[in-house]
Symmetry: C2
Subunit: 355 residues, 2 copies
C-alpha cells in the first residue's frame, strides 16, 4: 500500500527526515541545514585550512600572479535530461556560476565522468554535445578529463564532476562579508524554474504548463555589474540547491545582518507558483541554475538593475528586498497582509537530486 | 548455475568484452584500448582544444605567472577499504601523482563526494580521516569541496572526485615527447601491489600472503629526479589503470619510439606473481598507485636510480628496459629464453574498479 504522500505523484520523493543518526541520508545532499552540519562536523575539522573555512562558492588561492579561484561541483540530477537542459549543460553552468559568484572570470574546467555500464551511447553523446555547446557559449575550455565506468546498478546512468578555475580581475571582489544594513537585494530573474522543470521531467506531476529550466552561465551578468557599479557590488550568490532561502540565510549569517524580503516583490512566475501549490513546496526553497542574487550598495541599486536588464539573462531583474540592521542572521519575509514570517534555511530535503 | 570463470572467485569479475556497440561497457573504464577509443571518438571531437588534445596526466594551462597544471580523477574503487589504503587516501595520491608526473609540485585539491543514502557515518569518517592524513603528508591543501547524496542503490557507497592544481617549476618539464631511443626506463618500485591488494580485499581469492597496496604520493621522488638529473629526466608516468603495459604503450606511441623490457629486470614481487598466476592475470596490466616509471637520458640513469633509492618510496628502484629505435610505437618484452613478445595496451577490461 502506498504511503500517504506517495499518492501525490509517482517518482516524487518528499521524505520526512528520518532519525538514523549513524548514516548518510538524502537530506545531507540538500544544500540546507543537514548539508551544512555534515560539512561542519565531519569534513571541516579534518580538512581545516584558511581557504576552505570560508566555505564560499569557490576558493581564492594564494598564487604568484592574478588571484585564482577554484570551485568544484558534482552533478547527480535525475532525470539526466529535462526541459531547458541536461546534466551536461548543468555541469558547465553550475561550476561556471560558482566561479562567477566569486567575481571571477571562468577560464578552465576539468570534467570527471562516472558512467554506468549499459548507458546508451546515444544518450551519452547528447549529453557530451550539450556540454560542448555550453562550454563554447561560456567561452571556457575543458582542459582535463577522466572517465570511470561502474557496474550496472552501481550508479544512476551518469554522474559528472566539473571543477573550474577562474581569475579574479583586480578591484571588485564580492564577498558576503561586505554586505551591510541598507544594501539592496536584487534577483536577476524569476525564481524556481530549474527545480520545477526537473520535478516535472520526473513525470506524474500532472502540470499543465511546461516549465523550462533557467540553466545558464551567469558570468556575463557579473561582468556587467562589476563594470557598471564597481565596488557598489557587495555580494553575489546563485541560489541552487536549497533555493533562495538557503542562500540568503548563509549570507545573513556570514554578514551578521538581517535580510528582509518583500513578498510582493519576490519574482515567482505563475507556473512555478501553481506547481509549488500542487506539490506543497515553497518557491523560496526551489533550486535555480540561471539566477543570481546580488547585494549592492543602496545608491548603486538602480544602476545595477539597469545593467542586469541590458542583458537577455537579466531582462527580468528586480529588487526583492534588502539587508537590515534588525534580526541579524535571520531572513524575514514581509507578507502582503503586513505579516512577517521567518524564512529558515532548508531543514532537510525538499527536492533531492535537483543538480 | 555459475558461469565457468565465476567459480574462480566470487566477486571477481573477469568479463570477456561483449559486443554491445551501442552502450557503455565496463571495459570503457579500464584505462586501456576501449577507454582510449571512447575518449578519442566520443569526447575529444566535441571538447577539442590545444590543451586537452595532449591527453597527459594533467593539463598545463596558459596563465599569467608560473605555469599551472590541472588534473582530475574520479575514484570508484571497490571495496572502499583495502590493505594499505582506502578510497580516501587513493583519491589524494592519485591526483597528486598525476600532477607530479607532469613535473609539477602539487598545491591544491578540490574534493567532490557522491555519497549513497545509508552509508554508515563511521565508514565515511574513516575515509575522511584517511584523506586528511594523506593531504597532510603530501603537503597539499583541500581548498574546495562539494557533497551530493543519491538514493539507496544509486551509487556504491561512495565515489570521490579530486581535482588538483600544481605549479611547474621553471626548467625541467618531463613529457613523453622528449623520449628518444637510448633512454633508460626505470621503475621506482615493484609492480602490481595495488591491483592485487584490491582484488584480494574483494574476498574469495584464497591468497595465502597478504599484499598491501603501494598507494603513496610520489612527488618527493619527482623532486629528487628534477634536482639530481635535471634535463636528463625525459618522461614520467604512474602506471595506474591498465598497468605498466598501457602506460608504456602510450609513451611509445606519443614519442614514436619502441620500448623494450627485459623480463628478468621487471620488478614483480613474488606474492604478486603468485596471485597473478592463480588469477590468470599479467602483472604488466595490474594497477599501481605508488610506482612511477621514468625515462631518463642514458648518461643520467645511474644517478637517477641512486636518487630514487635515497628515498623510502624508491628504495627498490630499478632499471627495467629502455627506448629503442626499432618497432616504433610498440612495447616488446624480451623473455629469459631469448624470445620476444609484444606487450599490447590492455584491450578491454582486466580489473574493473581498481581505482
Amino acid at each position: 500500500m502506498p504511503e500517504p504522500n506517495a499518492t501525490l505523484a509517482s517518482g516524487l520523493a518528499c521524505p520526512v527526515p528520518v532519525t538514523e543518526y549513524d548514516r548518510v541520508q538524502l537530506g545531507h545532499g540538500s544544500g540546507g541545514k543537514m548539508s551544512a552540519r555534515l560539512i561542519r562536523e565531519r569534513f571541516l575539522p579534518l580538512f581545516e585550512n584558511d581557504v576552505l573555512r570560508r566555505l564560499g562558492d569557490g576558493a581564492v588561492v594564494p598564487h604568484a600572479g592574478p588571484d585564482l579561484v577554484i570551485s568544484t561541483d558534482t552533478f547527480v540530477v535525475h532525470p539526466l535530461e529535462f526541459p531547458g537542459g541536461d546534466i551536461g549543460s548543468l555541469a558547465v553552468h553550475g561550476t561556471v556560476n560558482d566561479l562567477a559568484m566569486m567575481g571571477a572570470d571562468p577560464l578552465y574546467l576539468s570534467v570527471g565522468f562516472i558512467l554506468e555500464e549499459g548507458l546508451p551511447f546515444d544518450l551519452l553523446d547528447r549529453v557530451v554535445a550539450s556540454m560542448a555547446r555550453a562550454v563554447r557559449d561560456a567561452g571556457v575550455a575543458i582542459v582535463a578529463g577522466d572517465t570511470k565506468v561502474v557496474d550496472r546498478g552501481k550508479a544512476d546512468g551518469m554522474f559528472i564532476n566539473t571543477t573550474g578555475i577562474g581569475r579574479i580581475p583586480p578591484g571588485v571582489r564580492p564577498d558576503p562579508e561586505l554586505v551591510v544594513a541598507g544594501d539592496v537585494l536584487i534577483s536577476s530573474g524569476p525564481l524556481g524554474r530549474h527545480g520545477i522543470a526537473v520535478m516535472a521531467a520526473r513525470g506524474g506531476l500532472g502540470l499543465a504548463a511546461e516549465v523550462e529550466s533557467d540553466s545558464a552561465a551567469l558570468h556575463p551578468l557579473v561582468a556587467l555589474l562589476r563594470d557598471r557599479i564597481g565596488g557598489g557590488l557587495h555580494a553575489l550568490r546563485d541560489p541552487t540547491r536549497g533555493g533562495a532561502a538557503s542562500a540568503l540565510n548563509e549570507i545573513a549569517s556570514t554578514a551578521g545582518v538581517g535580510i528582509e524580503l518583500a513578498e510582493e516583490l519576490v519574482p515567482v512566475p505563475g507556473v512555478v507558483r501553481a506547481a509549488c501549490e500542487v506539490l506543497g513546496l515553497d518557491p523560496l526553497y526551489v533550486a535555480n541554475e540561471g539566477v543570481l542574487l546580488a547585494f549592492v550598495a543602496e545608491e548603486a541599486a538602480d544602476e545595477a538593475v539597469r545593467a542586469l536588464r541590458s542583458h537577455a539573462l537579466g531582462s527580468e531583474a528586480t529588487v526583492m528586498g534588502g539587508a537590515v540592521a534588525g534580526h541579524p542572521g535571520m531572513v524575514v519575509l514581509r507578507t502582503g497582509l503586513g505579516g512577517r514570517r521567518i524564512v529558515e534555511m532548508l531543514p532537510g530535503d525538499q527536492l533531492p537530486r535537483i543538480c
